[in-house]
């Protein structure tokens, strides 16, 4: 009996909240995966019509074109402040601040810390790919020791410019946040864990519980000069030893 006549069920498809359009991200870029996971969470929680997404400056500056929710631009680094303004006006809407490593840990460090410190009831998604992708591959606050980038061509030298910053651990010194977790999207197992963390971070907002922070280690094949599968492997071999995966806080 031919296999084709067996009744079949669609068990995985594009989530409804993800726009049915091609995205501009490089082949193998983690943003596509993370957008998809966010869309799945928004579908699962039924919050597409009450969510507002604040996009950063960076490769994902057009994130609001890919997620079918109200979208807001923000100046570089200022997404948490913009998100604060939106959430204070509409406390019952779900506000997501989606940011990269330059946005969150360089220019936006003050907004990152103070939004967390005030315990703004938002969900911050931090896409950590250890590089500045959109501007062509410069060093990021999370670039690793000895990592070669356009502005650290001889490798990041800690004697000169210090070490990478661990955002989760930094925010874990603050009283207010209710959820802090680091995950990755370089393997199926890690992608599934990332989805769980994003669900928790969004459900916290639905339940009005406080500030949630999810850091996601993400591939930047173009910036790292690696093939996508090599980039996924580099996260395992080089990033995770410094940026450990796991939950730091879950109140």
């Amino acid at each position: 009996m031919p296999v084709e006549t067996a009744p079949a069920r669609l068990v995985y498809k594009r989530p409804e909240s993800l726009a049915d359009v091609p995205n501009h991200y490089c082949p193998g870029c983690g943003h596509g995966i993370i957008h998809k996971l966010l869309a799945q969470c928004i579908d699962d929680l039924g919050i597409r019509e009450t969510t507002v997404l604040v996009a950063p400056v960076g490769c994902s500056v057009l994130a609001y074109n890919y997620l079918r929710v109200d979208g807001c631009e923000a100046a570089h680094g200022r997404a948490p402040a913009v998100a604060t303004g939106i959430k204070r006006v509409h406390p019952d809407r779900i506000v997501i601040s989606y940011q990269g490593d330059g946005d969150l840990l360089a220019i936006g460090t003050a907004e990152t810390i103070h939004t967390a410190n005030r315990g703004e009831r938002i969900t911050v998604v931090f896409v950590n790919n250890a590089i500045y992708g959109m501007t062509g591959g410069q060093m990021a606050p999370t670039s690793l020791q000895a990592q070669k980038t356009k502005t650290s061509p001889y490798g990041r030298n800690p004697n000169d410019v210090g070490f990478p910053i661990r955002a989760c651990e930094l925010l874990n010194t603050l009283e207010a946040p209710v959820f802090i977790e680091r995950c990755a999207v370089n393997s199926v197992k890690n992608v599934l864990r990332t989805k769980k963390a994003l669900m928790k971070g969004l459900r916290n907002q639905v339940d009005g519980r406080g500030y949630s922070f999810i850091e996601v280690l993400s591939m930047c094949p173009t910036g790292w000069g690696l093939e996508p599968r090599e980039a996924a492997a580099w996260i395992d071999s080089d990033m995770i030893p410094f940026f450990s995966l796991g939950n730091l806080r879950d109140r």
Binding site: A8, G32, E227
Partner: protein, 77 residues
């Protein structure tokens, strides 16, 4: 006995090969001598009979280019 199959949208596929690496059965490969309208090779499941419908390919795909069908169990199994 196949438990399902992936449907890969060749025009949405960017040829990133993450699905090739993710598939536990190793039944996905990039097309040879065939390219989509972007000029990129695309992923193809070359042996659907060994697909377990685990969804790994679809889960890892950054472009939501893959949907997965799971077959109902055949009678008697």
């Amino acid at each position: 006995m196949s438990r399902g199959r992936p449907e890969i949208n060749r025009e949405r596929c960017k040829g990133c090969t993450l699905c090739v690496g993710a598939c536990p059965e190793k039944i996905i490969a990039m097309s040879k001598d065939q390219f989509n309208r972007q000029g990129l090779p695309f992923a193809v499941c070359f042996d659907e009979s060994r697909c377990t419908a685990c969804m790994s390919c679809a889960i890892i795909c950054p472009d939501s280019a893959i949907t997965v069908l799971r077959f109902a169990a055949a009678s008697g199994e």
